[in-house]
């Protein structure tokens, strides 16, 4: 890539994401196979320790998703399944996964 172009791209990426790691939705698509086992199924319920449907992520704010994932990792959110899921994920993984769920047009599930 031409240096000027690269600089422009970097500037855009930096301004769009501020101080956070820039998420790559395409990379994120390859990191979500575990997430989809619950979050990719409409009305999927978490059975332990409480019974409720796991949240919809399509169209969620990427920055919020990253904050939530970090909170599961640090223990600020106390939920064993998510804590286990995020243990081996890096900040870059978080950003990529968040970009995938948040930045692409979501497949709209039928509202009942």
């Amino acid at each position: 890539m031409h240096p000027t172009r690269l600089l422009a791209a970097l500037a855009i990426a930096t301004s769009a994401f501020g101080a956070h790691a820039a998420g790559d939705a395409a990379a994120g698509k390859n990191k979500i196979f575990q997430c989809q086992g619950c979050h990719g199924i409409a009305d999927w319920k978490s059975a332990f320790p409480e019974l409720y449907r796991v949240p919809k992520l399509g169209g969620q704010k990427p920055e919020y998703i990253v904050a939530a994932l970090k909170a599961y990792k640090s223990g600020d959110r106390d939920f064993p399944t998510m804590r286990a899921m995020v243990q081996n994920l890096s900040d870059q993984d978080f950003a990529d996964i968040a970009a995938y769920y948040g930045s692409q047009p979501a497949t709209v599930a039928e509202k009942k």
């Binding site: 989809q36 979050h39 990719g40 199924i41 409409a42 009305d43 409480e50 019974l51 409720y52 449907r53 796991v54 949240p55 919809k56 992520l57 399509g58 169209g59 969620q60 704010k61 990427p62 920055e63 919020y64 904050a67 939530a68 909170a71 600020d76 959110r77 106390d78 939920f79 995938y100 769920y101 692409q104 979501a106 497949t107 709209v108 599930a109 509202k111």
Partner: protein
């Protein structure tokens, strides 16, 4: 024995469905959501956050929202902003607010 088992299953099923049926009132929830709107609603899109820091709530599952609010109350989720907001919410308030935000069009299941 078999009959007892069937009865047990039926009772469990009834309990689980009645628990789901004990849902909130979206109209009442809307009236209670004025404070929430400051961070979770935009002028032209209720339940869609104006800020990247705060989640969109429109279209989210009500039972998930209820759980999240309860967790902010009991400290299973630690967040200073939300902890202050949910302190005075009753169980009914939580059900109504969750029903309201769930009734809006927004989030979806991404496959």
């Amino acid at each position: 024995m078999m009959k007892a088992r069937i009865l047990l299953v039926a009772a469990l099923f009834a309990a689980s469905t009645s628990a789901l049926a004990a849902s909130g009132n979206a109209t009442a929830g809307k009236k209670k959501a004025a404070t929430c709107a400051a961070c979770h609603s935009s002028p032209n899109a209720e339940g869609v956050s104006p800020s990247p820091e705060f989640p969109n709530l429109a279209g989210q599952y009500p039972d998930y929202l209820e759980t999240a609010l309860r967790h902010y109350q009991n400290g299973k989720r630690k967040n200073p902003i939300m902890a202050a907001q949910v302190q005075k919410l009753s169980h009914k308030d939580i059900l109504d607010l969750s029903a309201y935000f769930a009734s809006l069009k927004g989030l979806s299941v991404k496959h």
